[in-house]
Symmetry: C2
Amino acid sequence: MNVIENTHPTEQCLKISQVLARIGDKWSLLIVGRLGGGPMRFGQLLRSIEDISQRMLTRTLRGLERDGLVRRTVVADLPPHVEYELTDLGRSLQAPVTVLSDWAANNLSAIDAARSSYDAADEA
Amino acid sequence: MNVIENTHPTEQCLKISQVLARIGDKWSLLIVGRLGGGPMRFGQLLRSIEDISQRMLTRTLRGLERDGLVRRTVVADLPPHVEYELTDLGRSLQAPVTVLSDWAANNLSAIDAARSSYDAADEA
DNA sequence: CCGCATCCTTTTAGATACTG
DNA sequence: CAGTATCTAAAAGGATGCGG
């Protein structure tokens, strides 16, 4: 067990924080999840995600591309279109996310229950 | 391999999104990380985390308490103080977070490199 | 010692309309 | 089809002072 005086956790946590700042927003993981099945076009993603605005999809894809998680390819068809797919780095993120996903699936109801009970106690 | 038409990923991802909405903010994981070493008092956390404002610490702790990840105990000392500690649910989150943490530690430099290279190409 | 309330500034997101 | 631009609404965050 760690004692309170240990110093390492903070550095580690700072790194997680930085990573979460990139992938932990409202849309990034949803997009990475959708892209897990293979390359998709902009319009496909837009229709597939439901509720995301065009602007947010553009912004989020740019961010993911900038961070090296997603590759953007312009296909010189007629009419031309754009394909997005995960990079190796992006795919390497899938395993950790799956672990978190499983925790989420198993504990979301517990969180919601705790929340309801907290809110109920709040009114008293 | 999944085909594009599969439907399950979206539900899963929605759950992750909801969980990330709770723990994926700027401070929650930092606090959970600090609390991993055992119970701490408000002022200890405040000094320990560096850069967090009193307001954000209060807000974040309330959120974690509401979600059942942290327990708040008022100690009737003189002067009285307050202790925070992880609940079982909070501790169960540590393992998934460690996986993500390891990924973060291993790939943060790759992300930063991708980012630099993207930004460099941007000016051309 | 703990933390709430208020005020104010900055950041982020959504709607809408328009371009190569 | 795949965006960009602009405007506005909402949320997050910091500073400060008060109260239990």
